[in-house]
C-alpha cells in the first residue's frame, strides 16, 4: 500500500501544474514515526526559485545557460512567449559556469557562434536578461548596451569581460557581437559594471563534448543596423530553477 501511494504521488508530480507544484507540501510525519527505507519520488516541496536566461544552440531544443542557474534544482522550467516546458539538465561544465539543458524543441532561432573569436577591448556588444528584452524591443530595439573590457589576467582565462549593467536574471544570457554572433555566456559580476562571461571557444568545446553541434559562421547574421535585442529575444528564453 505504501508503495502504491508513493507511486501515485510520483505520477502526480509529473503532471500537476506549476502553481500547484510550488504550493505542494508533504504531509507532516508523526513524531517518532519510522523513516521508510525506500527511495520515494514524492512531489518536491518548492521553497525557493532562482531565475536566469538560456538560449538555444541547435534546432533540437538544446540550450546553454549558466551552471549556477540550473544546478541543485528539483525542477528546471523554460518559458518563452507564453509557453513553458520542463527542461532536462543534460550536463554541467566542471570547469566553467555553463550548463546544457534540453526542452526537445527550439522556440525561435538557434544561436550562431563565431568560428574564431575576434572581439577586442572596447568593442560594442549586447547582453541582457531575457525578461528585460520585451521592454527593449517594444521601445524600438537596441544595438549595443555593453563594451568588451580588458582582461585582468590569467584568473579570467576562458572568459570574456564586459562593462555591463546587466543584473538579476541575466545569468546564462548570450553576449552578442556586432554580427549577431554569440561571443560569450553571462556568468557573474566581479565589480560594479564588470561582468564575466564564459568565452565562446569554451562554450563551443563544452557543447561539442556533449554531442551538440552548433552553427558557426564569421559572417554577419543580422543587418548592421538591426537590433541585437531582437535577435537576443529570438534565441533566448527565461529559465527558472525550482529548489526545495
Amino acid at each position: 500500500m505504501i508503495f502504491r501511494c508513493v507511486a501515485l504521488l510520483g505520477v502526480l508530480s509529473a503532471t500537476v501544474p506549476l502553481s500547484a507544484l510550488a504550493q505542494f507540501q508533504p504531509p507532516p510525519r508523526p513524531v517518532g514515526a519510522p523513516t521508510p527505507l525506500v527511495h520515494t519520488s514524492e512531489a518536491p516541496a518548492i521553497r525557493r526559485e532562482k531565475s536566469g536566461t538560456a538560449f538555444f544552440v541547435d534546432g533540437s531544443g538544446h540550450m546553454l545557460t549558466a551552471r549556477h542557474a540550473v544546478e541543485d534544482c528539483v525542477r528546471v522550467v523554460v518559458a518563452k512567449e507564453g509557453r513553458a516546458a520542463w527542461a532536462r539538465v543534460v550536463a554541467l561544465s566542471p570547469r566553467f559556469d555553463i550548463a546544457l539543458i534540453d526542452i526537445k524543441r527550439t522556440w525561435g532561432l538557434a544561436a550562431v557562434f563565431p568560428r574564431s573569436v575576434t572581439v577586442a577591448a572596447n568593442d560594442m556588444v549586447f547582453a541582457a536578461a531575457y525578461d528585460t528584452l520585451p521592454g527593449m524591443v517594444g521601445r524600438g530595439g537596441m544595438i549595443a548596451n555593453s563594451t568588451v573590457a580588458p582582461s585582468m589576467g590569467s584568473g579570467e582565462a576562458g572568459h570574456l569581460a564586459i562593462d555591463s549593467t546587466v543584473t538579476f536574471g541575466a545569468s546564462g544570457a548570450p553576449v552578442l557581437d556586432g554580427r549577431g554572433l554569440v561571443e560569450g555566456v553571462v556568468s557573474r559580476r566581479t565589480s560594479i559594471n564588470r561582468v564575466l562571461a564564459v568565452g565562446a571557444a569554451e562554450a563551443k568545446a563544452f557543447l561539442a563534448a556533449n554531442g551538440v553541434r552548433v552553427e558557426e559562421d564569421d559572417r554577419p547574421q543580422i543587418a548592421g543596423s538591426a537590433s541585437r535585442a531582437n535577435r537576443a529575444a529570438s534565441i533566448s528564453a527565461h529559465v527558472t530553477c525550482l529548489q526545495n
Partner: protein
C-alpha cells in the same frame, strides 16, 4: 524575388487539439518551385542574415498555425478532415510573404485552397503577428516558403 524553398510538416500525433509539433524538412535548394526572375537569389549564396530571417519567418508561421485559438484550430481541423482526399488541400503549398520594416506581415500569397473559408483562415493566421525582427533592409522580397502539410490525427 527572394526564394527560400523549404518544406515543413505539420504533424500531430495525438489529437487535433493537441499542441502541434512541426518539423522543418531539408531545404529544397536545387528545385525552386516558382519561376525565377532576375532578382532570384539562391539561398546558398544569399547573406546569412537573410537565411536567419527566413528561418524566423518559418518558425513564426509554424507557431501561428499551431496556436490553440479558434481560427488556427479550425484551419487544422480542415486539413485533418480533407487532407489527402479529392477536393482537399494540396500536399504542398508555396507561400509568398512580404514583410514590413517593423516585422509585421504586409501580405501573403499562395495558390487558393479549395475551401474559401480555409483559404481565408490561412491568410488570417499568417498575417496575424510580428516576426520579432525587422527584415534585413537589403533583402529581396517576397520570401517564398514551401510548406508540406501533413497533419495526422
Amino acid at each position: 524575388m527572394r526564394v527560400v524553398n523549404s518544406s515543413f510538416r505539420l504533424r500531430c500525433v495525438a489529437t487535433a487539439l493537441c499542441a502541434l509539433a512541426l518539423s522543418l524538412g531539408s531545404p529544397m535548394l536545387s528545385a525552386p518551385a516558382l519561376a525565377q526572375g532576375l532578382d532570384y537569389r539562391d539561398p546558398d549564396k544569399a547573406p546569412p542574415s537573410w537565411g536567419q530571417f527566413a528561418k524566423l519567418v518559418k518558425y513564426r508561421f509554424e507557431t501561428w498555425v499551431a496556436a490553440d485559438e479558434p481560427v488556427a484550430n479550425r484551419f487544422r481541423a480542415y486539413i485533418i478532415e480533407h487532407g489527402g482526399k479529392d477536393g482537399g488541400p494540396p500536399p504542398t503549398l508555396v507561400v509568398r510573404a512580404w514583410l514590413n520594416p517593423d516585422g509585421t506581415v504586409e501580405r501573403v500569397s499562395f495558390a487558393p485552397l479549395p475551401d474559401p473559408a480555409a483559404d481565408g483562415d490561412l491568410h488570417t493566421i499568417l498575417k496575424r503577428g510580428n516576426i520579432g525582427e525587422a527584415p534585413p533592409p537589403e533583402m529581396l522580397q517576397p520570401l517564398n516558403l514551401r510548406f508540406s502539410l501533413n497533419l495526422q490525427k
